[in-house]
């Protein structure tokens, strides 16, 4: 092992979860490595546990042993962080305000796993050991490693090392990103990427700001520069499709217009919104900012898909 490889393997990052046998983020059967930290705050976010950069505590009342345990009422758990409500179902309640910031060490004292950490620090070597478990699948299906988030570009050194190491081992690489980061971060990651799936959430900057927290000027500039600077990367544009936010002709046409000049943007995928995050927001003590987003109808999705197929010159139409 050369010194350089050794260094790469020792780089650490905060990983939320590693999910095997995925088939939606890049070609073939893939292993998705979700890393923590996001630089947008999309109001419809379905992965709230991936937003914060640091590991954070979560609570699953179904696992709590309740009063007979009561360990979290005592030190070293923070005073007032956990409590019981009289006459209630005897599960512990969490005062998220006071429980925030408790460490992994303290959380591990919960004997049932009702309290758990979202996110842990891992080295590239540790992540790759997991990823390599399915190496034979990657070979037979053309799959590989996908890094998702959170935002991949928020841990550029870790992501770059992971992708580079995957390439060193002959594994195909993909990332899923919204690219709200300085170009210097993207520049580190992209040389090691085979496929980049990237979100075009809203084409209108003012509306992008309202729904995600920032305007889209830098994001769009990053995409263009990425298409131009990395002609060998396959880019796939994506839109999380949400009625009332972006499920309209104008948006879909705007995206098609935006990617049209670039031959290395090989597809535009629609991700119809589903209310996936709800349970998890509750377990993190965060409340959905607006909880009544609808799932777009098949009719709407199929109509947009037909527009996309036409733009890509596909005669046989797919339905989503």
């Amino acid at each position: 092992m050369t010194d350089q490889t050794k260094n790469i393997l020792e780089i650490t990052g905060t990983v939320l979860n590693i999910q095997r046998y995925c088939s939606h983020d890049g070609p073939g059967i893939r292993t998705n490595v979700f890393i923590k930290g996001c630089s947008l705050r999309c109001k419809w976010c379905g992965n709230p546990e991936s937003i914060g950069m640091k590991p954070e505590v979560s609570y699953d009342p179904k696992k709590c042993k309740g009063k007979e345990c009561s360990i979290c009422l005592k030190k070293p758990f923070p005073e007032g962080g956990f409590y019981f409500v009289e006459g209630d179902d005897s599960k512990i309640k969490v005062n998220w305000q006071l429980a925030k910031g408790i460490t992994e060490k303290i959380t591990s004292l919960c004997p049932t796993g009702a309290l758990e950490m979202f996110g842990k620090t891992m080295t590239v070597a540790e992540v790759m050991a997991e990823v390599e478990k399915d190496a034979s699948f990657y070979r037979s299906t053309g799959g590989g490693l996908t890094i998702s988030g959170g935002e991949v570009m928020l841990q550029p050194d870790f992501a770059a090392a992971l992708l580079q190491e995957a390439h060193n081992r002959g594994i195909n690489t993909a990332i899923e990103t919204a690219c709200n980061a300085p170009w210097s971060f993207l520049e580190k990651v992209l040389p090691h990427v085979d496929t980049m799936l990237h979100d075009l959430k809203l084409m209108n900057s003012e509306r992008h700001k309202k729904w995600t927290g920032v305007g889209n000027e830098r994001i769009l500039a990053n995409f263009k520069k990425a298409y131009e600077t990395f002609p060998n990367v396959e880019f796939i544009a994506r839109t999380p499709l949400i009625p009332g936010v972006n499920a309209d002709d104008e948006h879909v046409m705007g995206v098609l217009e935006f990617i049209k000049p670039y031959k290395n943007v090989i597809d535009y995928e629609l991700l119809p919104y589903h209310r996936f995050g709800l349970g998890k927001y509750e377990s993190l003590g965060v409340i959905y900012e607006l909880d009544d987003y609808k799932t777009p109808s098949d009719e709407v999705v199929n109509r947009f898909q037909a527009m996309i197929d036409e733009a890509f010159g596909r005669t046989e139409q797919r339905s989503v």
């Binding site: 939320l16 992965n47 305000q97 006071l98 991700l271 589903h274 909880d291």
Partner: protein, 388 residues
């Protein structure tokens, strides 16, 4: 406790969540402060006025003088409002144009000091109280005024805002009853109350509803259907069911989507758990779920209605106007008495100052022995599965 007689500069702020008539609290504090020769100032939009003063052309702190300002208790807060009020978790766009949450509590305390503010009166709900408790532990001299639509703050008999919500809810239920009567249908009306069923039960009693479903007692839709059928024999061809937003329903299938492979790939911790007790959390869903569930078990037609955020508008009730002024004045009395880190509580016939450590982490739900249950029972109102 020593009396604080020296001249003070006291600030007043409002936590997130709109409640009508907050000016009543501000007016009470202002008048009482004036009697002591103290100065009262208002922090605009939660703590925004202090954390981001650049947003306010005339500064984020306003001087409050009841003789100059229009502190009409019928109108809303002169202090404005912010959707998020948590100095430990302030959302910003950083220098790299990335969104993040930062802890600005130290900065806030510094700015409070720099503005020569000796104490802060905070008109807050349960969550706000925990935030103020944290700030108190870091050295802020604060007195909280309890504010809750659903009256779920423990240690006080009544929170500011509850009576107005109750009054409005009763008015709306009267209208829903007339609509049900005219249409010969069953109105299923969702009212506020995620953890505590005070509004549902008290309003339900006031309008003599057929049934009241609350978070405290799980309700069985089959029992409810039988109860309505029994009530609707003879001349009565309509029904009125009051459902709190957080009502617990048993024997109701939770609509749960199976975890698809797409979901699993997009969302790392995707699960599809279900349990037999269905707790309804989201506004609008309680009425819908109960109306649909009933419809399957009863011949009569049901229709859902949601009062929801409508209760947050309008003018305060007579009780809240008095209570607001009293709470405002009570907060000044607490400061005068040298109390720090307390909540002003109304425990008839007294106004008490309860330490925040005792006020947080308690939820004021309806106790099993409440006389309201006895009254509801005597009126023949169904309010849940008594055997459960």
């Amino acid at each position: 406790m020593s009396k604080e007689t020296s001249q003070k500069r006291v600030a007043i702020m409002v936590g997130a969540g709109y409640i009508p008539g907050i000016n009543a609290v501000v007016a009470g504090a202002s008048l009482a402060a004036g009697q002591l020769g103290w100065e009262l100032v208002g922090i605009l939009d939660g703590f925004e006025g202090l954390l981001h003063p650049e947003k306010y052309p005339n500064g984020g702190i306003i001087s409050i003088d009841p003789r100059v300002l229009n502190l009409d208790p019928n109108t809303s807060s002169v202090l404005g409002q912010s959707a998020r009020v948590d100095p430990f978790n302030v959302r910003i766009v950083n220098e790299l144009e990335m969104v993040e949450e930062v802890d600005m509590s130290d900065e806030l305390l510094k700015r409070i000091k720099a503005a020569n503010i000796d104490a802060v009166i905070s008109i807050v709900g349960g969550l706000g109280m925990s935030i103020l408790y944290q700030l108190h532990k870091k050295g802020l001299n604060t007195v909280c005024v309890p504010r809750s639509i659903e009256n779920d703050i423990a240690s006080t008999s009544v929170s500011f805002g509850f009576n107005t919500a109750l009054t409005f809810t009763i008015d709306m239920l009267d209208r829903a009853r007339l609509a049900a009567k005219a249409a010969h249908k069953i109105a299923v009306v969702e009212v506020q109350g995620e953890v505590a069923g005070w509004i549902a039960l008290q309003a339900g009693i006031a309008v003599a509803a057929d049934a009241v479903l609350i978070p405290e007692i799980p309700a069985d839709l089959q029992q409810l259907a039988t109860h309505l059928k029994n009530n609707m024999t003879g001349k009565k061809s309509w029904g009125l069911v009051v459902v709190a937003q957080g009502a617990k329903i048993i024997n109701q299938q939770k609509k749960e989507e199976k975890v698809s492979s797409l979901k699993a790939s997009l969302s790392p911790l995707a699960t599809s758990d279900s349990n037999s007790e269905y707790v309804i959390h989201k506004s609008g869903q309680a009425a819908q779920a109960v109306a649909e569930g009933l419809q399957l078990r009863i011949a009569e037609e049901t229709f859902p209605m949601v009062i929801g955020p409508w209760v947050r508008g309008g003018v305060p009730s007579a009780v809240d106007r008095q209570l607001g002024v009293a709470y405002g004045a009570g907060a000044i009395q607490a400061l005068e008495a040298g109390s720090k880190g307390v909540m002003v509580a109304f425990v008839p016939p007294d106004v008490k100052f309860v330490p925040l450590a005792e006020a947080i982490n308690k939820v004021r739900t309806i106790p099993a022995e409440s006389m309201f249950f006895q009254v509801a029972d005597s009126l023949g109102i169904y309010f849940g599965n008594k055997e459960a």
